[in-house]
């Protein structure tokens, strides 16, 4: 009787373990499928031509996304210029100066910003920048991405600085160094790798954003010559090409998607490389 019950319990345990394994596999399956199709449909179209040429008009085959690739880099760079100073300094305040109650409020507001859907950033920046400037521009797109970065960078900076042992700060202060110098030269330096990691992850995240760029950076089939002009970007170009009813554009959309995914994964790989052998935990 008891043996039978035990057998049933063991069988249940094995069955549930198998079920959980199955679920874990199903969670990973979409990733494998997406990567498989990206490789199958995109790889054949990514060539030197694709990386170095402008898009061709409808009907002409060939052409590439060189302007979109460069545009994406410009936009991410602008986003870093906006997001990193605000984020890192804000994170320093939280970790080094802030009182618990104000910190709680700042974290709460950062969480709200973090949860704000990216399309909302798009229309807010449209109203803030595009309407007064009377046109879409790289500035507007970079600002939208930069604002998305701010809460991400604030939180990782704070978390990384919190990991720096208090004794480092005390040692610096004991030498008579002003606090701001000890923060910049000792605390920030110690946590530097972690913060760079967080910034890279934030870059990878905003590099793939499309919704905030739809109405801010808009799109451009040509090179843009100034930051106050609309600028092409990879995600936006993929979206435009995916929606279009032309086979050749679909092919290009897959190629663009493959390039974008490789960029995003390259950022993550860089993060892994940076954090290898470091005793500081990694930003998630």
């Amino acid at each position: 009787m008891n043996a039978l019950l035990n057998q049933r319990r063991k069988a249940t345990s094995a069955a549930m373990s198998a079920l959980c394994l199955l679920c874990a596999l199903m969670v990973i399956l979409p990733l494998l499928l997406v990567l498989f199709h990206l490789a199958r449909l995109g790889a054949s179209s990514v060539d030197w031509n694709f990386l170095t040429h402008l898009p061709k008009p409808v009907g002409e085959s060939g052409g590439g996304m060189a302007n979109a690739i460069v545009g994406s880099f410009i936009l991410v760079l602008l986003a870093v210029l906006i997001g990193v100073p605000v984020g890192v300094l804000g994170g320093i305040y939280l970790s080094e100066f802030g009182a618990p109650r104000l910190n709680g409020a700042v974290r709460f507001a950062a969480d709200i910003l973090n949860g704000t859907p990216s399309i909302v950033w798009g229309i807010v920046v449209y109203a803030l920048v595009v309407v007064p400037m009377k046109g879409a521009s790289a500035y507007a797109g970079g600002l939208a991405l930069g604002l998305i970065m701010i809460p991400l960078v604030i939180r990782t900076t704070e978390q990384m600085l919190a990991l720096v042992p208090a004794s480092y700060r005390e040692a610096a202060l004991a030498l008579g160094i002003p606090k701001w110098k000890s923060v910049l030269h000792v605390v920030l330096k110690t946590a530097g790798k972690g913060i760079v990691t967080g910034v890279l992850l934030a870059c990878a995240r905003v590099a793939g954003e499309t919704a905030p760029l739809l109405f801010t950076a808009s799109g451009n089939q040509f090179w843009s010559h100034s930051l106050s002009e609309p600028v092409a970007s990879l995600p936006r170009q993929i979206y435009t090409y995916a929606k279009a009813p032309y086979g050749d554009w679909h092919r290009q959309a897959w190629a663009g998607a493959l390039v974008l995914v490789l960029f995003v994964f390259a950022f993550s790989a860089l993060v892994r490389l940076l954090t290898r052998g470091s005793n500081l935990p990694v930003a998630k």
């Binding site: 199955l22 950033w121 499309t210 993929i238």
Partner: protein, 321 residues
């Protein structure tokens, strides 16, 4: 050696202006988050003013959306957002929790890190690429196999009646599920890992099997955390834009069938804003108000999630410096 010590004693005490200035600078940057929250709210409010004035609260309950005749109601968008997000969560939650259980409790040690890395990779795939994949690969497949089957088996329900087009609320729900699985899984993992090992050991000591340990020692106390993970996933789901836009069909008609094309708040803004911006101000106003509604819903969801997940993931400070 002797000559150095007296000299350094003569140095003036370090100036405090630098400290004050630096503290003020970092304070300003920290305050930026409040400014930004205010700016987002204010710009959305200002943009939606024409629509707010014209329709008032009725905007939320009207089901017609016809830019040509100037009739704007948010109901089809809210309906589509809730249906696709909740359905997506319904699909994602059991999978994510089971996967998190596997990864924290059952998987062999060598497998955990690579599996977690793969799930993080899934999280890092840009929305537009999942949308492209959904459009070209997933939806045609759903259309050919699971949808006709669902219709045959559950066709007596109004939910599964009507013509199968492909792009529809159910397709959007499937894409949303794929997009929120990583975050729900990773937060569930944190919740399970926060359970002290002593509880597992106690269960083992009583002779519990592996599954019984998981059920009694781990799952039982984690309900609240799992609910929080679900809410955070829902917060993501509600605002998902690109992938959803590409598979939802973008029809502003409310239909009881999940196979009918629909729209969400985010997809409505994404597809109509460019056209509206050149238009009279009631049309963009209505879209800004959709944004306002979306923001309000996500804020409420995220606050709820925060209250539930509580301290999980909050940084611990080693003490005042």
């Amino acid at each position: 050696m002797n000559s150095i010590a007296p000299q350094s004693m003569l140095l003036p005490p370090p100036s405090r202006t630098g400290d004050a200035a630096f503290k003020f600078l970092t304070w300003c940057m920290a305050m930026m988050v409040f400014v930004l929250v205010a700016v987002v709210g204010w710009e959305l409010f200002r943009g939606s003013e024409p629509s707010l004035r014209q329709f008032g609260w009725r905007f939320l309950t009207r089901a017609d959306w016809d830019p040509v005749s100037g009739a704007f109601g948010a109901l089809p968008f809210m309906f589509g957002t809730f249906v696709s997000s909740l359905l997506g969560l319904l699909l994602a939650l059991p999978l994510s929790v089971a996967a998190a259980i596997y990864l924290t409790e059952l998987a062999p040690g060598w497998m955990r890190q690579p599996a977690v890395a793969l799930i993080e990779m899934l999280a890092s795939i840009p929305s537009v690429i999942l949308g492209l994949w959904g459009m070209v690969v997933l939806v045609p497949w759903l259309n050919a196999h699971p949808y006709p089957w669902l219709q045959r088996v559950l066709g007596f329900l109004p939910l599964f009646r009507g013509h199968v087009y492909g792009p529809c609320l159910l397709s959007a729900a499937v894409i949303i599920a794929i997009m929120i699985v990583p975050i729900v899984t990773s937060i569930s993992r944190e919740v399970f890992r926060a359970v002290p090992d002593s509880r597992r050991e106690a269960a083992y000591a009583l002779g519990a099997t592996r599954w019984e340990v998981t059920r009694l020692a781990v799952l039982k106390g984690s309900k609240r955390g799992i609910f929080g993970a679900a809410m955070l996933g829902l917060g993501r789901a509600l605002g998902e834009t690109m992938a959803v836009t590409m598979v939802v069909g973008n029809s502003t008609v409310i239909s009881p069938s999940l196979f009918a094309p629909g729209c969400t708040l985010a997809s409505g803004i994404a597809t109509q804003f460019a056209e509206a911006a050149d238009n009279f101000n009631l049309y963009p106003g209505a879209l800004y108000e959709l944004g306002l509604v979306l923001l309000a819903i996500t804020i409420v969801t995220n606050i709820l999630a925060r209250l539930l997940v509580g301290a999980v993931g909050a940084p611990r400070h080693p003490g005042p410096a």
